[in-house]
Every structure is written in structure tokens, then in C-alpha cells.
Symmetry: C2
Subunit: 362 residues, 2 copies
DNA sequence: ATGCTAAAGGAAACCGGTGTCATTTGCAAC
DNA sequence: GTTGCAAATGACACCGGTTTCCTTTAGCAT
């Protein structure tokens, strides 16, 4: 029984955390305005059931005192927090940040905060982790990034626990209210047509990981464009990648080891495209003279390497903004209802990594 | 008085948001364990004032029911939230993300969440915005990233409103408890000695923006190393940058337009170093044959360009982890008190962007 | 004036925890 | 067997809002 001599034996006394600079409570406002706290509450929550003159009087007091309701108290009473969650299991750091940026833009000037939460893809308890997180934090709403967003169980989960959600994706995943997507397949087709119009016939693909919807969409676009142009696609021209820089290098090595090299490579994201470029340089190949490259996403790296990469711009910041606005639509912060777009168009950005193939390799 | 015909005239009724799958409350646990709710609260908060057998009984009930205390209620009662804030006004996306990663690693398996908050540098109301944010969200603690972390007013503010804080920096900013820093000056000196040992004598600097402590530290290290080696530094070899890729290009242009070019350039961060490389390529200069480059930070871009950049690795993920652990030290989540390091060492990473200068330009 | 109805506003309970303080219990000393 | 004192526990108010439900007031017709 020696386990008892712990810390000081008093319960951490003092409720002193109450802010020193005497923040007003709803009671103070009520007293100053000469109304009940419920009336103040009605003003705060834009209740239609009150007299204009009363509202104005209370609002005047609020303005003068600089009163701001305590979010913790509201969260407790309302059963949900004023926080938007961002859940991701994505390997691409830049994408996460751009998404954050978009969401934060939408949340700017509102009282919502952004909580980020990475999860372990493949972890057996992932779904439980997410449930636990959502239930505990009582988030107002949550944004799911791909690839985890492709998991339909999340939608079920959110509906079950009554949490607003938006899933980001590369194709239609859910109803418009719960989704923000781009059409990756069409964007890739456009990029491939460009490559083909430049004269390329042997085009390699650095594919994305299996199980990623976006990877499938992009690969389908790739294959469709070749088929459309009547170009045969040998299996060997498709190399698997993991959406990482290193996997781009590895995949490119296998492509460039072929007896007849591709004259162009389409990589399913910019990270891998940077890997393609790196691998080409390691072999002393010129880009775009010896090898043309197209990437996808238009992350900063695409414009920072030499030559800057021709790529498909994924309007991710705008998508993030739209996702956040969907979540808070209907609140006083954003009274306009659901006219946020659910579908975004990716566009080809032409930079310096594409040129017609050399005649010699025809 | 036509302003009255608003939405439905009933107050949004139904308190139905109470989770459907009947989460237990502290009262349920108290009843099941045959104790008062206060005793359950003591168990949750690791109070030393209770009997082992009671504690075990209550813990058993908690385990069986899977009870988790409501964070909103705790936040209200305790006057602070279980959230760590990350406040930044930094232009470098990668740095922010790495910091997030470090913090999230530390917070993993705890009940703390991470709230991110960008602020407008230069905005006149910035300090008020931050105060408002901290007061409203009642954050448990907050991490400030440079350059805003260099503002001493933030420390005053946090102490005033009773919010734990940690400032990240490039030099000693505060007492150990409130700071995590690297020694940028020494790291730059090491990098410069390497450059000089390779035979470089005309070395250009792409400096960071005025007002950034890190920029000053790095510039001082640069100047010290040259002085130490007895190398005179003409004013023209220092070009101002803004820590952005584009500013790196501009600064390099001015450096390379000099009648006698530098044989090497030190850039105060990797973004700008990538700009240096880009600008060199635009002129057809070979790197490292015609121009050696050293950057700072070791962000992913440094290893993705060609040639990969020699740079100084700033251990930012580890620093973020340390910062977060400092904040939650003393809580049950991290009972070990304050032995988190406050000072980190940056190391030179040698890659492919440095070579001895050509004899011709000697 | 009187009665009726709907709008406006207030009192008290409640959300789910924690702090304060009083009470009970356990055990050693007298 | 008391007394004394500290350890263990509980009752109750409280954190700062929201909701329920009821009372008061205003507007209008009779």
C-alpha cells in the first residue's frame, strides 16, 4: 500500500482559469439589456420569434461589450462543436495542405475551426478510430480526402452518428450534397490527346496504386485515349506506382529499360512525374527532347523542377473551399443553401516537359 | 414591418442530436459502479485521493461499458479545451505540414486534437485575432511557427490569458519551457565551411526577408564564415529574397548578371534554392559544374530536383513533436515532466549540387 | 370595455462534466 | 471504549449556454 504517497494531496484547487479580463457571460448581457438570458440566446441564434426593437437593443449591447458566446457551452448544449474535421490517409502532403488552405478560406471570418486528423490506412481499427474521433469531438462536419473518401462505409457511419460530411473524389461518389469531385478520366483523355497530337505513339504510364479510385479513373482515361487513337498498348508500357516520388523513379526505370523505349510518359500524379524526370536525368536523357512527361495535380513541384512539368491542374483549393461551404451551409455563417458546386473541371497546363518525339525513334 | 415572415416560426425543436447509440454519461457509470459521479470523475482524472479498490471497480465498469467522457462538458467545466493550436503566418507550405506531422505524432494516442490557424502577417488586427481565437477556443496550448513566433507580444498574450504555448524558432527566443529552437547560425557556418573547403571564394547569398529572425541568423552565419576564412564580401553578392521560389529566381538573376559571377550560392531556404537552380538552368548553366548551390530546410523539393540539393536539414518533424509534448507534459497523456529537448541541431546533407569551382573562373 | 389569439419573453431544467465543502469511514493513540 | 485525525466519498452548486413550457403582452375583432 505504498502507492499512496503521490502528488500533493489536495485536489488542484482554484477554478481560477476563468479568464482574468472578465469576459462577459450571457447573463451579463441579459442584465445590461434588461432582458432574460433566453432572449439574448434568441438574438444570438437568429430566432425569428422576437421583436425588432428588442433584437436591436440586445445587439447594441453585444456590440458595445464585445460579447462572444462561449463555444464550449454552446457545444455542450447543442451536442456538437463548431469544428470542421479533415480526415485523410493521403501520402501527398501538398494535396493535404492545399485542401486545408481551401477549407480555411471558407472558414475564414466564421467561428468554425479546422481540426486535422490523419488516419492509418489499412489499420484494422481505422473505421472505429474515425467513429470514436467523430463521436468524441462532436464535429460539426467532416471532410474526407481520397483515397479514404472512396470508402462508402464512411457515409453510413456519418449518417448513423449524425455528422455532416463531404467526400472528395475523382468521380461521382455520393449525392451532390456529400461530395466534391473532379472528373479525372476526362482530364487525362485531354492530356493524352495533346501528347498524341504531338506525335507520340509509344507512351508509358506510371499508374497509381491499386485500390485508389483516382488511379483507376486516370488509368482508364489513359487507355481510352490510346484506343481512341487506334494505338495498341503493350502491357509492358504500364508500370505500377504508389503516388510517391520514389515509386516514380522505380517505375520509370522499368519503362526505360525496355528494348524500345517510350517517347513519352504519363504519370498519375506530379510526385511520380518528378520521379520520372529524376530517373531520366540519372540516365542523362534530355527532357523533353528524349522523353516527354505529363503529370497530374499541378502541385508546386511541377513548376519548380526543370523543365517545368506539363500537368493537369486539379483545382483542389477551390474544391476544399466548396467542401467546407457545403458543410456550413444553412448556418448563419453561410445562409445560402447548397448552391456550392460538386463537380470541378481539371485543365491541362502546358509547360516545358512535352515536345514532339525525335524522328530517330519513330 | 414586413421583416417578420422569416423561416418556420417554431424554434428548431428536438434535442434529438443526443447520439442515437446511447452513449453513457458519468451518471450511468456512477450508478453501475455504485458510487457518486464525483468519484467517477476522480477516477477519470487520476485523483490520488481515492481508494485502490474503488478505483479498480470504477475502472472495470468504464472498461466494460466503453465509456468515454464528453469532451465538451469537460471543456466547459475546466475552462479549457483538449485541443492544441498551430498558429502560423508562414509562406512555406512544406514546413507547416512537417510541423503538423510532428505535432500529430505526439498527439497520437492521446485525446488531444490539432486545430490549425493561419493568420495574416502584417494585418493590424493580427494580435487581436489571435487573442480572440485563443480565448474563444480555450485551447489547451498553442504552437507558434516562425516568423510570427518571434513576436514577443505573443508570449505576453498567452501568459495573460493563461494559455500554454511553445514558440518555434531559429535561436533562443524564450525560456526552455516555451521554446523549441534550432541553431541556424551554426548550421550555416558549417555549410559555408564546406563550400569554402571545396575552393569557393565568390559565394552569393540569397537572403531571407527582413524581419525574420531565421533570416538574420542565417545571414550572420554566412557572413561569419566568410570573415573567418578571410574572404571579403562585396555588398553586391547579397541578394534579398522572400523565402519563395519566385524570389529565389529574381535574386539569382541579379547575382548572375554580375560582371564576375559567384561560383556558388547559398540560399536561405530550399524554396529559394530551387529558384536558384531554376534560374541557372534558364541560362543554360550547369549545376554543380558552373554553379554550386546550398539550400536550407531539407524539404522534399531539395531531393526531388536535379541535381538533388545539398542543404541543411532542419529537424522540423522532431521539433514539432517536442513542442507538442512540452504542451501536454504534466497531463495524464504525458506524465513525464519537461525533459523534452528545446534545442535541436541542424545538419548538413550533402547531395549533388556542390562541386569545386572550375579553374577558369578563379 | 371585453374576449380571443398569437407573438414575445421569462423561469427553471438541462447538457455532462468538475470544484467546494461537508460528511462518513478507518484506524491509531489514549 | 473514546477521542482524534486523516483519508475517502458524496451532495450540491456551477461552468455558460439552450430548450421546454408557461406567463405576459399586444393586436384586433366584437
Amino acid at each position: 500500500m505504498t502507492t499512496r504517497q503521490k502528488k500533493p494531496p489536495i485536489e488542484k484547487n482554484s477554478r481560477a482559469n476563468t479568464t482574468p479580463n472578465s469576459k462577459q457571460t450571457i447573463n451579463d448581457i441579459a442584465r445590461l439589456a434588461g432582458v432574460s438570458k433566453k432572449t439574448v440566446s434568441r438574438v444570438i441564434n437568429r430566432s425569428p420569434l422576437l421583436n425588432e426593437s428588442t433584437r436591436e437593443r440586445v445587439e447594441e449591447v453585444i456590440r458595445q461589450t464585445g460579447y462572444v458566446p462561449n463555444p464550449q457551452a454552446r457545444a455542450l448544449a447543442l451536442g456538437r462543436n463548431f469544428l470542421i474535421g479533415l480526415i485523410h490517409d493521403n501520402p501527398n502532403a501538398q494535396m493535404i495542405l492545399n485542401m486545408q488552405q481551401g477549407i480555411l478560406e471558407a472558414l475564414h471570418d466564421t467561428d468554425f475551426g479546422l481540426v486535422v486528423r490523419p488516419v492509418d490506412r489499412g489499420s484494422a481499427t481505422m473505421l472505429d478510430d474515425i467513429r470514436h474521433f467523430l463521436e468524441r469531438q462532436r464535429l460539426y462536419g467532416v471532410v474526407f480526402l481520397p483515397p479514404i473518401s472512396e470508402n462508402n462505409a464512411l457515409a453510413t457511419l456519418c449518417k448513423e452518428i449524425g455528422c455532416r460530411y463531404v467526400r472528395m473524389g475523382s468521380a461521382t461518389l455520393d449525392d451532390a450534397q456529400h461530395m466534391v469531385a473532379s472528373n479525372d478520366r476526362d482530364a487525362v483523355i485531354e492530356a493524352m490527346r495533346y501528347l498524341i497530337s504531338q506525335g507520340h505513339r509509344r507512351i508509358g504510364l506510371v499508374a497509381g496504386p491499386h485500390g485508389f479510385r483516382s488511379a483507376r479513373e486516370r488509368r482508364e482515361g489513359f487507355e481510352f485515349a490510346l484506343q481512341e487513337a487506334g494505338i495498341k498498348l503493350p502491357r509492358s508500357l504500364i508500370a505500377d506506382g504508389q503516388y510517391t516520388f520514389e515509386s516514380g523513379i522505380t517505375a520509370t526505370d522499368s519503362l526505360l529499360d525496355l528494348s524500345v523505349r517510350p517517347t513519352a510518359i504519363f504519370a498519375c500524379n506530379d510526385e511520380m512525374a518528378a520521379g520520372v524526370l529524376f530517373a531520366a536525368r540519372e540516365r542523362g536523357l534530355g527532357v523533353p527532347e528524349d522523353l516527354s512527361i505529363i503529370g497530374f495535380d499541378d502541385t508546386p513541384i511541377a513548376s519548380r523542377v526543370w523543365p517545368p512539368l506539363t500537368t493537369v491542374r486539379w483545382p483542389i483549393v477551390a474544391m476544399g473551399r466548396s467542401a467546407a461551404l457545403k458543410l456550413i451551409s444553412g448556418t448563419f455563417a453561410n445562409p445560402d443553401e447548397e448552391d456550392e458546386p460538386s463537380s470541378f473541371i481539371s485543365t491541362l497546363i502546358r509547360r516545358g516537359s512535352v515536345a514532339p518525339p525525335k524522328k530517330t525513334s519513330a
